[in-house]
Symmetry: C2
Subunit: 422 residues, 2 copies
């Protein structure tokens, strides 16, 4: 057994023990600890910035791009936001212990369900260092032990944040071992965590497709994951075109690099001539590249530059200011396109017609299906979850934004007075 494997197994075993205690903690205790964790982060502001500077220096030395370095940077504002995030999670209702559906069976015993933590959650992330605090807050609040494995480029920052959080957790009277930060850069540690099915109940990878694919290939532990966000908006033949214009522009351009941004516009042939030239000019002027089907290109002649959309375009999550456009003959064709190409993340219909709105809602099988609203709303904060661990494109357990409820499940509880089975 390698050093990394032994280390990770020891951590996972400790996390399991810690999780058992944490799962029984009252909401008050968890909220107090989250507050102290926030205080500790703020109190160590200078240390966090010093450690972050080491990551930034290494990133520059290794020639990381400006965007990546920007994501890595811990500003004063970023540190304030992490602390505020911890307090916001503390303010959310405690999901653990909630009993629902408790009702009598014919023999008099009461049967219902009680919400419980999942146990130990392994989080493997590549993203900004603030994930260390955000993910820990959600795990602690939902009563789960957490094992964190951050990216090597944010190594010193993540480690400093985790140390502050762990100290806050302990100062708040909760078991420190419920939170484990894998403090080795040995890459074997990831594999060890993925094999640790004895102590880890779920793995949540947060990062690019390469990471997700690796996790899927290497683990037997259940995974809550986000794959692609190839999101569609369909403009029906009866639609408020001014509204459609706003929804397309907002969906594509408000933040093109995120998973709930639009990638493909589908539009009914009847309204395409009136609609496409105007939105195309608006998007082009804002720096958006357009790729269209033959009918789209015909309609946009002289209006805006548009290249030919290839088969790959329909399957691509651009994560960039690029929009694919296809003219369709009606809802059926739009639904077929979505069925064939969607990544089941977010789909939108713009329509005035109630019946087609209801059909779209029922028939589209994506994590979020919307009528007359921007795809950008598929987000835990926007949906009112208070916070999120990411957006699941899985079908089992949890779809869409993963909030506190997604980090729990329900066991059955039975209250009897001696019932036996005949």
């Amino acid at each position: 057994m390698s050093d990394a494997t032994a280390l990770v197994e020891r951590m996972a075993r400790e996390a399991r023990q810690g999780a058992r205690l944490l799962g029984q903690a009252h909401g008050e205790a968890k909220n107090r600890a989250l507050g102290i964790m926030a205080d500790t982060l703020l109190a160590r502001r200078e240390t966090l910035k010093t450690e972050n500077a080491r990551d930034l220096a290494a990133a520059e030395q290794n020639g990381l791009g400006a965007a990546l370095i920007d994501r890595l940077r811990l500003t004063d504002r970023g540190i304030d936001d992490m602390a505020e995030g911890l307090r916001q999670v503390a303010a959310l209702p405690d999901p653990v212990g909630e009993v629902t559906g408790l009702a009598p069976r014919p023999n008099g015993m009461l049967v219902g369900r009680m919400r419980m933590p999942l146990g130990v959650i392994g989080i493997i992330y590549e993203s900004r260092p603030n994930v260390t605090a955000d993910a820990t807050a959600l795990c602690i609040k939902s009563g789960n032990g957490v094992i964190l494995r951050g990216g090597s480029e944010a190594w010193h920052s993540n480690r400093a944040i985790a140390a502050a959080l762990a100290q806050g957790l302990e100062a708040g009277g909760l078991p420190r071992q419920a939170m484990q930060f894998i403090d080795t850069t040995d890459r074997a540690a990831v594999g060890a965590l993925l094999r640790c099915d004895r102590f880890v109940d779920v793995i949540i990878p947060r990062g690019g497709k390469g990471l997700i694919t690796r996790v899927m290939a290497e683990t037997r532990i259940p995974v809550i994951k986000h794959l692609d966000g190839n999101c569609h908006l369909y403009i029906d033949r009866e639609a408020d075109l001014a509204m459609a214009d706003e929804l397309v522009f907002n969906g594509k351009m408000q933040r093109p690099g995120v998973c709930n941004a639009l990638e493909t516009l589908l539009i009914h042939a009847r309204v395409a001539p009136a609609f496409l030239p105007e939105i195309a000019q608006r998007l082009s002027s804002a720096g958006c590249e357009l790729r269209g089907c033959p009918r789209t290109r015909e309609l946009l002649k002289g209006a805006a530059p548009v290249t030919e959309a290839t088969v790959e375009d329909w399957d691509t999550e651009y994560l960039a200011p690029i929009l694919a456009i296809r003219v369709v003959d009606g809802l059926d064709q739009a639904l077929e396109h979505i069925e064939a190409h969607s990544s089941r993340h977010t789909e939108v219909i713009v329509t005035r017609d109630h019946r087609r709105a209801m059909r779209f809602l029922r028939e589209v099988d994506s994590a979020a299906v919307m009528v007359n609203a921007s795809s950008r709303f598929n987000d835990g904060f926007q949906f009112g979850l208070g916070a999120e661990m990411g957006i699941s494109t899985d079908k089992l357990h949890v779809r869409g934004p993963v909030g506190l409820e997604g980090l729990t499940s329900q066991k059955w509880v039975v209250l009897g007075d001696g019932q036996i089975r005949r």
Copy 2:
């Protein structure tokens, strides 16, 4: 690609297409089809019995035990029960399309969740031929496509039942391809199904531990499974001992071969002397073998035969009239024992004390946790689900009895009037 792989891929692709149509069928259409499926089974009673006779003859020739042959036999009563089961599932409320929690966000858009089928469910089973009908009914009602792979010993029976069901499904106006029976005995077909992650959304293995272990090892598709049923009953120091006697006897002896039967009795040292001799005599007289800790053996001297419980006994699901008994010093020790040895299936406390009842309910992390009721109640029918696909010992998605709800998940729905994100 082998023949079996090509066959299974074609079936899975068809099941996916059928599932898309089935998922949109109204409850009325599904219920009518289930009724016709029941009629078709009854109309083919003689064919089913003839085909079953071929399986029985082969089983006898292959020297299968009397118990196995008994499980294999399709009696008139068994055929009636299958048909009645289909009608019972038809009578249950349709889970698909239910919208919950629809409420406005501050910007006026309504956000809620809609229950949807999982998609295509692969069922690999070794059990009695009636599983073919029971599992299909639940999948159809929940709007899921189903791919069935039964055991070779029930090959002719399963095939005849599946043919009757498929014909009834089609006669009821629903897509026949939503139901696929893998009609080859080629063992490679199981592997092919387990690799078919493009078209299959979840695998449900129903059978012995060997099957479950194989499925877990070979697939990347999410699995809903039942591992062990190592169930415990703890008798608190303040308990109604007459009630405890009934609950222990019922839990162990009402049907010793099933997963929700008791395997280990934990008893507080204070009440053990008054309780153990009597229940031990009752169990022994009924043919139950006892294996005890040293304190148990001391207390049972002269009362009933009891062998020494080894470490393995605490971890064993006997599925037989054998009970392990351990005297403990209190609730903490009982909880530790359960944490260390339980398979997280069903745990029971017998107590008059409210506080310890609540502690047990909260702290035991099993699919079902009961106060003063028989472990034998952990069952979909007993809990009021109307039917079940089995009992999940997983933590994610669904714990305990898997009914119609366990075969669905929820997507987010958003009803807006042009909301964009700022």
